[in-house]
Symmetry: C2
Subunit: 202 residues, 2 copies
């Protein structure tokens, strides 16, 4: 029914996550109607993705293929004795934008999820435990997502780090409380309980 | 902050309509985590888009570059004396899927919108009027969108077709009424009025 090249473009765009046939049609038709340069720059932008990006072998952050280590980990101004543990590499980007953290990161590569077949040994936990010993870490901040999977992962990490029996090591996690701009009456019970329990002095 | 190749891919994907930085990040990271083949097939799928697709010079539907006319218009089984007028080429696809129309189509290429600078002479109205005369058309079905722009365009078409003074030519438009699966109480007033006015015998 549709011209083959258009159908090919729609099928290709439909492989993006969360993009259904109608959205893929809209993307493809937009590209077709726009200047050919836009399609060309999209193709160019994608073509270096696999060859130009890799995981840092220590922190598992995303780095340029030309680098050996995450520039953030290699930076002497960052405190290597504090590790903030996140599920995914892009979480680092969100945290760095706050400009309020001066330690280093460790990417787990997901969270435990029996339903998706993600077991603890598929996450970079072993490497985290090694880093804790090697870098004489003083604090591990667990910043997994506030989901069932993230919470299970946080509990497991707490247990495994505890088994290292390092008396000077502190394990913390990000505070729970009201996010900015959310009306009190819309907050869920668990968030509200946490906000009440962890209330701060004014 | 992010590896250059990843940032390039995010920027490139961010040019798609309605895709903000977070969605572009998600797309790019998904492609990076997936097999390189998926990125490659996305690139391949996009690369033929501009060279492989063009507009039919008569109906302005999208056709293969190798074709001279829309295969639907060239099909002797389709009734050329009935023209269904739509705003965009992909509207044809939606209507064809109903399998209940045997006439031909004409794509206007948009709707009149002074705010977006789309004037009547930018639409393929002149070509429609020529087709009406040339193909001895008996019915024009106006299927512009039920928006302010679509309604204005429909009114203008009605006026311009009327000025052809062809006594045997019928001008109709798609019925207004309740869409399937929508609760009566959620329908807007204009739709409800139209559904009541155009009620059908049971």
């Amino acid at each position: 029914m549709l011209p083959k090249s258009l159908q090919d473009a729609i099928d290709a765009l439909g492989t993006l996550p969360g993009v259904g046939p109608r959205t893929a049609e809209r993307y493809a038709y937009y590209l077709f109607r726009s200047d050919e340069k836009i399609t060309k720059s999209l193709i160019d932008g994608l073509s270096g993705l696999h060859s130009g990006v890799k995981f840092c072998p220590v922190t598992f952050a995303l780095i340029d293929s030309s680098e050996n280590l995450s520039p953030l980990y290699a930076d002497p101004n960052r405190d290597k004795t504090t590790i903030l543990v996140v599920e995914e590499p892009l979480d680092i980007f969100a945290l760095e934008q706050t400009k309020s953290y001066k330690g280093t990161y460790h990417v787990l590569g997901g969270a435990i999820s029996p339903i998706d077949g993600i077991t603890p040994d598929q996450l970079h936990i072993k490497e985290l435990l090694e880093r804790i010993k090697k870098d004489q870490v003083k604090e591990v901040i667990i910043a997994t997502n506030p989901s069932v999977e993230g919470e299970s992962t946080a509990l497991l990490l707490q247990k495994m780090i505890g088994e290292l029996s390092l008396p000077d090591l502190k394990v913390t996690r990000l505070a729970r409380g009201l996010p900015l701009g959310v009306d009190l009456s819309y907050a869920d019970q668990i968030t509200l309980s946490a906000a009440l329990e962890n209330r701060t002095d004014l």
